[in-house]
C-alpha cells in the first residue's frame, strides 16, 4: 500500500493540492489546469491509461449516427432531381451535379435563396449580436454592482429562463399584430434580443473572471465605468461572450417557429422557413418538386454555422464548461 502511495504523492503536481485548498478564482484557468493534468495520465501510480478498443468502438457508433444524415445530405446534393429518385441514397450516383445544383439553388425564382440568406444574416447579426451585447453588459452589471432592485432582476431572470421561447411566440405574435409589427424584420429581431440564459452565464462567469480589485484600480486611475467595461472587462469575458454569441447565433439561425408565424411575405423569410416552403411545393395541386434544390439549399444553410462552431471551438468549449458547472 505504501509503495502505491509514495509515487502517488510524487506524480501529482503541487497544483492539485493548492487547487483543493484555495478557492478557484478563474474557471478557465481551473479547467485547463485540470485537463492538462488528466491528459498527463490520470492514474496516480504513473501508469499510462490503457486505451480501450471497446469504448472507441462505442464512440464510433455515435459518430456514424451523427454523420450519416450529413453524409446523406452531401451525397444527394450532388445529384440531379432525376437521379435523386433513381439512385441509392447513401452513395453517389448519376452525374456529378453539385455545382449546377448550387447555381440553380441561388438563382431559382430570381435568387430568392440569396434574399433568404441575407434576411437570415440580418436577423443573426442584429438579433443574436444585440442579444449578446445586452446579456454581456447586464451580466457584468449584475456581477460587479450593487443596486436597488438587483434581487428583483435576479428573480425575473431565473423565471425567464424557465419560460420556453416557443410558448412566447404565439403571445408575441398576438401583441405584434396589434401594433402592426408582424411581417416586418422587427418581428423577428425584437424577440431574438432577449437571452436570459446568456445573461445568467455571463453573470456567473464575470464573478470569477474579473477581479474586483482590477476594477477598483482602474477607478482609482480615473477611468469611467463604461471605459472600464469596454477596455478591461470585455477582454476577460471573451470566452463567455463567444459562448453566448455562438448559442445566440445558432438559436437565431435555426429559428423556425417565430418567423413562421410572424411573416407572411416570402421576401422576409429566413432560410429555414424558405426551405420548408420549397419542400412543401412538391405536394398539393400543381406540385413542382424541386427536391434537389431543397437538399442543396439545406447543405448551404448548415455550412456557415458548422464552420463557425469548428473555428471557435477553443472559446465556446471553455465557456460552456464554466457555465454548466455553475448552473
Amino acid at each position: 500500500m505504501s509503495t502505491l502511495q509514495q509515487p502517488a504523492a510524487g506524480a501529482t503536481t503541487p497544483a492539485t493540492v493548492t487547487e483543493a485548498t484555495t478557492t478557484q478564482r478563474d474557471p478557465r484557468d481551473r479547467s485547463t489546469r485540470a485537463s492538462r493534468q488528466r491528459r498527463a495520465g490520470k492514474p496516480v501510480d504513473g501508469r499510462k491509461v490503457k486505451r480501450s478498443g471497446l469504448l472507441t468502438a462505442v464512440m464510433v457508433v455515435f459518430v456514424v449516427y451523427s454523420f450519416a444524415p450529413l453524409f446523406y445530405l452531401l451525397v444527394n446534393s450532388t445529384k440531379t432531381q432525376a437521379s435523386l429518385l433513381s439512385t441509392f441514397g447513401l452513395w453517389f450516383g448519376g452525374d456529378f451535379n453539385l455545382w449546377q445544383n448550387i447555381v440553380d439553388t441561388v438563382t431559382y425564382n430570381d435568387g430568392i435563396f440569396m434574399q433568404w440568406l441575407g434576411n437570415t444574416l440580418l436577423y443573426v447579426v442584429v438579433g443574436a449580436g444585440g442579444a449578446t451585447l445586452l446579456a454581456t453588459v447586464a451580466g457584468y452589471g449584475m456581477a460587479k454592482f450593487q443596486f436597488p432592485g438587483r434581487r428583483a432582476v435576479f428573480a425575473v431572470v431565473l423565471g425567464a429562463i424557465a419560460v420556453p421561447g416557443t410558448a412566447l411566440a404565439v403571445p408575441t405574435f398576438l401583441l405584434f399584430s396589434q401594433v402592426g409589427l408582424t411581417n416586418t424584420p422587427w418581428s423577428i429581431i425584437l424577440p431574438s434580443l432577449i437571452s436570459p440564459f446568456g445573461m445568467y452565464l455571463i453573470w456567473t462567469y464575470a464573478i470569477d473572471a474579473i477581479p474586483t480589485e482590477l476594477i477598483e484600480a482602474a477607478r482609482m486611475d480615473g477611468a469611467g465605468e463604461f471605459r472600464i467595461f469596454f477596455t478591461i472587462a470585455l477582454k476577460l469575458l471573451t470566452p463567455g461572450v463567444v459562448t453566448v454569441l455562438l448559442f445566440a447565433v445558432v438559436a437565431t439561425w435555426n429559428n423556425y417557429f417565430l418567423p413562421l408565424i410572424m411573416l407572411s411575405d416570402p421576401k422576409w423569410y429566413p432560410l429555414t422557413v424558405g426551405l420548408n416552403q420549397w419542400n412543401a411545393q412538391a405536394t398539393g395541386s400543381g406540385a413542382q418538386p424541386i427536391y434537389n434544390l431543397v437538399v442543396t439549399g439545406s447543405l448551404l444553410t448548415i455550412i456557415p454555422i458548422v464552420v463557425a462552431f469548428l473555428f471557435l471551438q477553443r472559446f465556446w468549449q471553455s465557456g460552456l464548461a464554466a457555465g454548466s458547472v455553475k448552473a
Binding site: 502505491l4 502517488a8 492539485t16 493540492v17 487547487e19 479547467s31 485537463s35 490520470k42 492514474p43 480501450s52 469504448l55 462505442v58 464512440m59 455515435f62 451523427s66 444524415p69 446523406y72 441509392f88 441514397g89 445586452l134 453588459v137 447586464a138 457584468y140 452589471g141 454592482f145 450593487q146 443596486f147 436597488p148 438587483r150 425575473v156 420556453p164 416557443t166 410558448a167 412566447l168 404565439v170 403571445p171 398576438l174 425584437l190 424577440p191 432577449i194 474586483t212 477598483e216 477607478r219 469611467g224 465605468e225 463604461f226 467595461f229 423556425y256 417557429f257 426551405l275 420548408n276 405536394t283 439545406s298 448548415i302 462552431f309 471551438q313 468549449q317 460552456l320 454548466s324 458547472v325
Partner: protein, 311 residues
C-alpha cells in the same frame, strides 16, 4: 459606500479601499448596465405574457362580439379532447425519448472522459456537430431518409422484400420524430455532461484509486454524483423541449399528412388555432396552460434534484 460594503453578496468589496475616488459611483450605476436588458426583457417577455393572459379571458363571438368571459376558455380547454390527446402524446414522448437521449449522452460523455479513447477531440466535436444543424434542416434530411421516394427505408424495404420499416405509420411516427430530436440534441447534452466531468477534482480520483476502486466503481461513486446538477439542467431543458415540440412534427407533417394532424402536439394546436382558425383567445389559453404546466414540472424536477443533492 458603507451600505455597499455591508452587503454580504459582494464579498470582495470588503477589501475595497475606502480612500477617495475620483469618480464616485452612485447607487444606481449598476442600472446603466442592467437597464437596457431589463427594458427588452419586460417588453418581449412580460408584456406578451400579460397580453396573452388578458386575451385568454375574452371570447370573440359571432353574436355579441368580443366578450369578457372570465375563465370560460380555460374550462373549455380542460374538456378539449384534441388538446389532451396532444398533451398525452408529448408526455409519452417525454417519458421515452428523454431518458434514451440523456442515457446515450451519458454513455458518450463517460467514454470521452475515460481517457481510454483514440482521438477524444475528434469524437467530441463530431458527435456535437448535429446540434449546429437547424431543426428544420434536420427534420428535412431525416424526412428524406424516412421517405419512400429517394430515402433509405424504401431501399431497405426493397432489399428485405417486405415493408418492414414504416416511419410514417401511426405506430412509428412518434419514434421517427424522437429519433430526429435525439440526433439533434445528443451531442449537446453529451458536451454538458463532459464539461462537468472535466472539472471533478483530480484528488477524488486519486483517493478512489488508493481505496482500490475500479473504473466502474469510480463511475458510480464519483462521476455520476458529480453529474447530478448538469443532469437536472439537461432534464429541465429536455422537458421544455418535449412539451414545446413543434418544428419536427410540423415539418414531417408534409410527408405524413394523414398521421400527423393539426393538433398532434399542443404547440401545433395553438398554431393552427391562431392561423387556420383565427381563434386567438383560445390559442393564447393553450399557450398559457402549456407554459404553466412546463414551468411547474421543471420546477418540481429542480427542487427534487437539488434536494437529493443535499441528502
Amino acid at each position: 459606500m458603507s451600505t455597499l460594503a455591508a452587503r454580504p453578496a459582494e464579498a470582495a468589496s470588503a477589501s475595497r479601499p475606502t480612500a477617495r475616488r475620483p469618480k464616485p459611483r452612485g447607487r444606481y450605476t449598476g442600472w446603466l448596465f442592467v437597464g437596457p436588458f431589463v427594458v427588452v426583457l419586460v417588453a418581449m417577455l412580460i408584456i406578451p405574457i400579460g397580453y396573452a393572459l388578458w386575451l385568454s379571458l375574452f371570447r370573440d363571438q359571432l353574436i355579441g362580439g368580443n366578450q369578457f368571459v372570465w375563465f370560460a376558455n380555460y374550462a373549455k380547454l380542460f374538456q378539449d379532447a384534441a388538446f389532451w390527446q396532444g398533451f398525452g402524446r408529448v408526455g409519452l414522448f417525454l417519458l421515452v425519448q428523454v431518458p434514451i437521449m440523456l442515457g446515450l449522452a451519458l454513455v458518450a460523455a463517460l467514454s470521452l472522459d475515460s481517457a481510454r479513447l483514440w482521438g477524444t477531440g475528434f469524437f467530441r466535436i463530431a458527435v456535437f456537430l448535429p446540434y449546429a444543424v437547424p431543426g428544420v434542416v434536420a427534420a428535412l434530411i431525416w424526412g428524406f431518409i424516412y421517405g419512400n421516394q429517394f430515402g433509405l427505408t424504401g431501399a431497405a424495404n426493397d432489399l428485405l422484400g417486405i415493408d418492414l420499416l414504416q416511419p410514417f405509420s401511426p405506430t412509428w411516427v412518434l419514434t421517427s420524430i424522437g429519433n430526429v430530436v435525439t440526433w439533434e440534441f445528443l451531442g449537446y447534452n453529451m458536451l454538458i455532461f463532459y464539461a462537468a466531468l472535466r472539472v471533478v477534482p483530480t484528488e477524488l480520483y486519486e483517493a478512489a484509486e488508493l481505496d482500490g476502486a475500479g473504473p466502474m466503481r469510480t463511475v458510480f461513486s464519483i462521476k455520476l454524483p458529480a453529474l447530478r446538477g448538469p443532469m437536472v439542467i439537461a432534464t429541465i431543458f429536455s422537458i421544455i423541449g418535449s412539451f414545446q415540440l413543434f418544428n419536427e412534427p410540423n415539418l414531417l407533417k408534409t410527408l405524413a399528412p394523414n398521421v400527423i394532424g393539426s393538433s398532434f402536439t399542443p404547440n401545433m394546436y395553438a398554431y393552427s388555432l391562431s392561423f387556420s382558425g383565427q381563434q386567438f383567445n383560445y390559442s393564447a389559453t393553450v399557450a398559457i396552460v402549456m407554459g404553466v404546466i412546463t414551468a411547474v414540472i421543471a420546477y418540481v424536477v429542480q427542487v427534487r434534484g437539488t434536494r437529493q443533492e443535499n441528502r
